[in-house]
């Protein structure tokens, strides 16, 4: 190996010095707990004490009564959340962004209006909508006045609708994000592309679908990946609006709320925790999120090359 020049060596030392503070904090509070959690999911736990190695024992317990129903229920709620947000937030946001793109000046102003809920804490958003959707709340009043509904509005305690209502509120909260990303992507496409398509007689929908979208794969990739990561990390809105049990009757239970109950106990300090099961669930979720994210990014990468 060639000896490094003294200047090279000095830079090398400087680099280490520069990186070390960030690396120490990041390694200590992110990487270390993560690795220890993954490792710990293969051990038996008594309370907060780690006992012997049991291989996949904790994972097996995820798939038997009574955990199996909670686990699969929460998993499918997360999957529904991802696809629900993809449609109600991201696809709708794409249409909004397209409409805003053609309305130059006023479009920018509306983008900022649409984004405002995204700077609010999901806790504030959840509490606000919990009151608006409660019996006697604004939504009931509006629906009753318009003659679309009669009597008490109980969507939040109705297991048929509750999950969809929460998704809609999440979409209300974050609609501005896909709108901003897609609007920026539209602006990067040269206007001549649109002009040429117009002259060729393509209508608006056709321009959007076959000309703009293939050029916007990087933006679609970011939005889809962000939606995926956020869907499987969802917690705050459910906790604030339906409690940590995912009321009514676990209809809005998600993997992270399930994890929270296993790791820290339910509200009211029933205090029954199951660390082994919590860590196993954490490992499963870790695999879902990392593998899913990598697969999504690779699929979009390939689409970009072909496009």
């Amino acid at each position: 190996m060639a000896r490094l020049g003294s200047r090279q060596r000095r830079l090398h030392l400087a680099a280490i010095g520069f990186i070390l503070p960030a690396l120490i904090i990041y390694a200590l509070f992110v990487l270390y707990p993560l690795v220890v959690s993954l490792w710990g999911s293969f051990f038996q736990w008594r309370g907060l004490r780690q006992m012997g190695f049991i291989g996949l024992g904790n994972f097996a317990r995820l798939f038997v009564f009574p955990n199996e129903a909670r686990f699969t229920g929460a998993f499918w709620h997360n999957v529904a959340w991802f696809f629900g947000i993809m449609v109600f937030q991201d696809a709708v946001g794409l249409i909004f962004a397209y409409l805003l793109f053609w309305r130059k000046k006023f479009g920018l102003f509306l983008q900022s209006v649409f984004f405002f809920p995204a700077v609010l804490s999901p806790v504030i958003v959840g509490v606000l909508w919990r009151l608006l959707l409660a019996p006697n709340g604004l939504v009931e009043w509006l629906l009753n006045s318009a003659g679309l509904h009669e009597g008490r509005l109980t969507v939040l305690s109705d297991s048929t609708y509750a999950l969809w209502v929460l998704m809609a509120i999440d979409a209300w909260n974050w609609m501005g994000l896909p709108v901003l990303i897609f609007a920026a992507a539209f602006r990067q496409i040269s206007t001549e592309v649109f002009e040429a398509a117009r002259i060729d007689g393509a209508n608006t929908a056709r321009i959007l679908w076959s000309i703009a979208l293939p050029l916007m794969i990087p933006a679609i990739s970011s939005v889809t990946t962000l939606t995926f990561i956020n869907a499987f990390n969802q917690f705050d809105i459910v906790y604030v609006m339906e409690g940590v049990q995912g009321e009514p009757n676990f209809a809005t239970d998600l993997l992270v709320t399930f994890f929270y109950r296993l790791a820290f106990g339910s509200v009211g300090a029933t205090g029954i925790t199951d660390i082994g099961l919590a860590l196993a669930l954490g490992t499963v979720l870790f695999l879902i999120v990392t593998v899913g994210t990598i697969l999504l990014l690779r699929a979009f990468d390939r689409a970009t090359v072909r496009g």
Partner: protein, 276 residues
């Protein structure tokens, strides 16, 4: 001709107007409900309050100790933002501008943190914070937030620093400037947009976070605004006027910041999200 052109854009305007109403109506209801009694909210949720009575605000302020919560949130946010910017800019500088064999791997290690679901490690994180004696402590919360926000910050700084011309630091080196001086006096002033993107997104994420205070904070005097509000709705669920006022108070600083920074936020998200 002109009228028919307008007619063609009309459906688009209707759609956009509809969503504007969906966004603004709940916020309007929030603001006017702050000044009403619960009975008045039930009776007429959209009407202006009969009198502009600040009683709800006083009630919310004192029963929740909101002043203290706001100060806590502010301390945590400012602390986390400053340190995150400092250590991330330092780490991004050699990773984006030096010729290091292990540089790309180190960068990848940092960037992996953007997608790592750190909430799932919260049991071990709790044990760690406890071992450090930082449970129910604002400083412990700040450390966790810095660690969680470093990956995104390094990503942004590295992307911005990579585009600067090489001659920049070469000239400074020939003049005999040390590496620390080059970073803070030559490179950092050139990436001010990156600093503002990191500052804005870190402060939004930290100010709004609920999960970590829920796990790490127990005493009332250390609660942040979201934690305090979430506990409040459980206890006082029937006193709507006061709950709305508490939302109003916690929303006010965010709204003020948004009115000032809306353009930067819009452009910041556009540049980071639409490209790779």
């Amino acid at each position: 001709m002109r009228f028919s052109a307008f007619l063609k854009t009309l459906p688009g305007w209707v759609v956009l107007l509809l969503w504007t109403v969906v966004v603004l109506l709940p916020l309007y209801a929030l603001v006017i409900s702050c000044f009403k009694s619960t009975a008045e909210i039930y009776a007429d949720p959209l009407g202006l309050p009969p009198r502009w009575d600040a009683g709800n605000f006083a009630n919310a302020w004192f029963t929740l100790n909101l002043g203290r919560n706001l100060v806590n949130s502010l301390i945590i946010t400012v602390g986390a933002v400053i340190v995150t910017i400092l250590v991330s800019a330092m780490a991004a500088y050699p990773l984006s501008r030096y010729d290091l064999k292990w540089g790309p791997w180190m960068l990848l290690l940092f960037l992996a943190g953007i997608m790592l679901p750190i909430r799932l490690a919260s049991v071990e994180l709790f044990n760690l914070v406890k071992a450090l004696g930082l449970i129910d402590n604002l400083f412990g919360l700040v450390l966790v937030y810095i660690a969680v926000r470093i990956p995104f910050a390094v990503f942004i700084f590295a992307n911005f620093m990579r585009t600067l011309p090489r001659e920049l630091e070469e000239a400074a080196r020939i003049d005999g400037a040390g590496e620390v001086r080059i970073l803070f006096q030559v490179i950092l002033p050139m990436v001010i947009p990156a600093v503002s993107i990191v500052a804005i997104f870190t402060s939004i994420a930290v100010w709004n976070d609920f999960f970590f205070p829920l796990i790490f904070i127990f005493s009332d005097e250390n609660k942040t605004v979201p934690l305090s509000i979430a506990g409040f709705i459980g206890q006082y669920r029937t006193d709507w006027g006061t709950i709305f006022a508490s939302l109003g108070i916690s929303l006010a600083p965010v709204l003020a910041m948004y009115l000032i920074l809306a353009r930067q936020i819009r452009e910041g998200i556009g540049t980071t999200g639409a490209t790779k």
